[in-house]
């Protein structure tokens, strides 16, 4: 049994939130640099170069890269040999979020869904826990903007729809989102599982490096084919047209029921922010 104090978790979340909101992940930046270089549409090229300049400014001046510093999504993989002492895990995570969003001038974007009254400290975080083997805690922080979250969809396909149906669902989601989610987008896809589990898989897919491929060959092919079809839509950066509508498609899989084929498509804007640590 290894003891980890809740203060350690709180401090880790604080650092992860700060780093995430100030920086693009390198694989996202590399994809945007490539997109800008290859773009021929003048307005789209202007948008991409502004986004890259923005990333430099944000890092240099320690300003949030996007004002939508997001719903604080925290994925915690907790080793079964770990005992957490101190506060409850969710309290420690929220405390880290609260301090970071206050100290670094990040926007507080969480509110009651009916009254719309803001909680004023960006809590609660969306905390997903998983018990895994070992004596460590792996934390992932994903500040999720909602312009793109709003454009996400879930499809409960029939098994007969198969691979073609999956690709159609992914491409349709991006087509219907159009210019709204800040394209070029990063597309996280969950395939299989249950209604709820499928959506979480899609979110987890967004924590992968942009441009990475699923180790399963048939799944990697879905990623590649979907990306190609999306980039033929012509939506382009900011919806101004052009070559790059998405910078990546990542699919994650889980076994599903014999009667179903859930496909969840979680849209992420071009501002891919995600930090990880292991305690």
């Amino acid at each position: 049994m290894r003891i980890i104090h809740s203060d350690t978790i709180e401090d880790a979340v604080y650092r992860l939130a700060r780093e995430a909101c100030l920086n693009l992940i390198p694989s996202c930046k590399a994809a945007l640099v490539r997109a800008e270089r290859e773009e021929e549409n003048e307005s789209a090229k202007f948008a991409l170069s502004a986004v890259l300049k923005n990333a430099e400014t944000a890092a240099a001046e320690q300003m949030a890269i996007c004002q939508d510093t997001g719903y604080a999504v925290v994925l915690a993989e907790i080793g079964q040999q770990v005992q957490i002492q101190g506060k409850l895990l969710c309290e420690a995570v929220d405390a880290g979020v609260r301090r970071a969003y206050r100290d670094f001038c990040f926007r507080k974007s969480i509110c009651d869904p009916i009254t719309r009254v803001n909680t004023a400290d960006n809590t609660p975080a969306a905390l997903h826990t998983e018990i895994v083997a070992g004596d460590k805690i792996a934390l992932t922080f994903l500040p999720k903007g909602f312009g793109s979250e709003n454009m996400s969809r879930i499809y409960m396909l029939t098994p007969a729809k198969g691979t073609e149906g999956i690709i159609q669902a992914i491409v349709e989601t991006v087509r219907l989102a159009g210019s709204k989610p800040c394209p070029p987008v990063y597309v996280g896809v969950g395939i299989g599982g249950t209604f709820d589990g499928c959506a979480l898989l899609a979110k987890k897919a967004l924590t992968r490096e942009v441009g990475s491929r699923n180790p399963r060959k048939d799944v990697a092919e879905i990623e590649e084919r979907a990306l190609k079809e999306i980039n033929e839509l012509g939506i382009g950066a900011q919806g101004f047209g052009g070559k790059t509508t998405a910078i990546g498609v990542s699919c994650e899989l889980a076994p599903t029921h014999i009667a179903g084929l859930p496909v969840a498509v979680n849209i992420q804007c071009h501002c891919v922010r995600c930090t990880k640590t292991v305690l």
Partner: protein, 174 residues
């Protein structure tokens, strides 16, 4: 890029074409989801708004708090389509400019044409650049809405693309 000083004149609006880059300077009001709902409630009750819509340019944005030494924190545009339900009414009251990101509904496009207004696209996700273009920020109304309150920004060389020009030009129509 064409430099424009706000408030917009009718002549200037007529001279703009979808796809053209502009740098805006002058006063803009911020307003997003909750502020639009609040404005509509004021109008429904027949009460005067705490700011003037006639001739104004509204920026669909909710800024990050200002760090020390800056007028404003990170502040890029939010998705304009969520304001579509409110927009034709505001245009009928003299709103002339809108800044946001993404396409608008057919009803908004018609109203832009009818009332001689213009819709600018700012670059979504360029929050730090836009925050730095804000030289002064004053809270104008609805402080309880926090980042969704209405602020009056004084901006300098605020980069946008003319997205819907009121003459049928629409950058999102492919």
């Amino acid at each position: 890029m064409k430099k424009i000083t706000l408030p917009l004149t009718q002549e200037e609006i007529r001279s703009l074409h979808a796809g053209e880059g502009v740098l805006l300077s002058g006063a803009i009001l911020t307003g997003r989801d909750c502020a639009h709902k609040r404005i509509t409630e004021f109008l429904d009750r027949g009460e005067a708004l705490p700011f003037t819509l006639a001739g104004a340019t509204i920026y669909y944005a909710g800024p990050c708090p200002a760090p020390e030494g800056k007028a404003c924190g990170s502040c890029g545009p939010t998705t304009s389509a969520r304001m579509d339900a409110f927009t034709p009414r505001l245009l009928s009251l003299g709103l002339k400019g809108m800044i946001g990101k993404g396409e608008r509904s057919p009803k908004v496009c018609e109203a832009i044409e009818k009332y001689g207004a213009v819709y600018f696209a700012a670059i979504g996700g360029a929050g730090a650049l836009y925050g730095n273009a804000v030289k002064k920020s004053e809270l104008v109304a609805f402080p309880d809405l926090l980042s969704e309150a209405v602020y009056r920004f004084t901006v300098e060389d605020f980069p946008c693309v003319v997205a819907i020009d009121g003459k049928g030009g629409n950058i999102y129509k492919r």
